[in-house]
Symmetry: C2
Amino acid sequence: MTTTQLIEQIHKKRSFLCIGLDVDLNKIPKHLLEEDDPIFAFNKAIIDATHQLCVAYKPNTAFYEAYGLKGWEALEKTINYLNTNYPEIYTIADAKRGDIGNTSTMYAKAFFEDLGFDSVTVAPYMGKDSVEPFLAFKEKHTILLALTSNQGAFDFQTEIVEGKELYKQVLETSKTWTNSQNLMYVVGATKAEYLGDIRKIIPDSFLLVPGVGAQGGNLQDVCKYGMNDQVGLLINSSRGIIYASQNGDFAQASAEKASELQRQMEAILLQ
Amino acid sequence: MTTTQLIEQIHKKRSFLCIGLDVDLNKIPKHLLEEDDPIFAFNKAIIDATHQLCVAYKPNTAFYEAYGLKGWEALEKTINYLNTNYPEIYTIADAKRGDIGNTSTMYAKAFFEDLGFDSVTVAPYMGKDSVEPFLAFKEKHTILLALTSNQGAFDFQTEIVEGKELYKQVLETSKTWTNSQNLMYVVGATKAEYLGDIRKIIPDSFLLVPGVGAQGGNLQDVCKYGMNDQVGLLINSSRGIIYASQNGDFAQASAEKASELQRQMEAILLQ
């Protein structure tokens, strides 16, 4: 999906919500454990109930790999279900990959070609030749970790490098890479006050913003500092939506939580 | 496997060679493509031919994920084959993972528990709470990216942070993390001249050193600057060994290449 098509969807649905599909078998309703594929059954129900309220879904690959082959199969079924039934949905493999050149090409093929995701998250530590293989794919986005939502972000990302924080160095340097127009960036909602400075460096790029909800980030603050004239934000919520209920009404409960966020987003878009 | 057991194996085999199992279906002998599982068939033949010459194997997960479910299945079969038939072998999942706390726990479970690897490579960009979940596993190692073998290492890793290079900051900071005794570090062989400085910061830790062979790193230089009194090195070669021949003799050819490196290592150990 192109950036233009994503923006169209945002305006059509009056939502820039991304729902994180981080499925933990210990947290899903017990009756689903009797299904052949409980992870996919859970995802399908959540997707069917919420797809009109969001523009993107983001499975975090860790939650699938932890269940081995069955997990990987559930990930394949989930992305296939989305691409077949809701092709207007933008899909993000939250994989945080990154390796030397030829190996990054293998990861890019895995997520863009084999699985068919629109985008993948990538870590910047190994530099240009670890990211450019992802950027080479047309109509696919590479979402680079910049300033993450966790406490550990302060260990290295905010350290001062040549007069500015490392994450700013990452933003500036990445702009010089080939096909940098295919970049988006991860900026945690828990760091909303940093968004003003970030927008000075990358005014036009889309930001994937995790950390609203369970992690304590605030939607209004993120939009105040991070929104640009093409919206430029995908706000992710995972646990706050998908685990709204552990009972038979879990899908409906997730839709209600998603709807709350969608209505707040609509109000902001119409301001 | 404990560090002590690994050191015992190194002295017993007079080798600190790690063989990278980065299987690309375009590069393996054509006759293997007729097998049910060409990737596993290739790995099994390479392992059977080389296991006495090396102490470790390192599948890079990208090469398995790129083939989807079949690739993941081949990875499972490979680690199971190693753990069942050659339990004295140290195993490394070269996955370069890293995410926020609860998600890193899922990755750690995937590689340490579900797959049964002895160690996994992890990226440091997200800091302490993204790495400590891996360190919490007993008798498992977390191999942190420090100074990688690629050109992109110079984009951020060697940038000066508070008077020293970022990779040195990573080394020093990581020493303060809980269970840091379970850390090893990735340092590329193409950066051998940096190893002296690195040893001042982490004199006792094991280093996983990729980049000897195809990438141009030199074994003698790596040992001169990087070896400590417990050896402290695992030298990885992937393409230089596993693709020594594309014909019916591929396994024997890989053993010859591995044997060349093993003999050089033996000479260094006996100096």
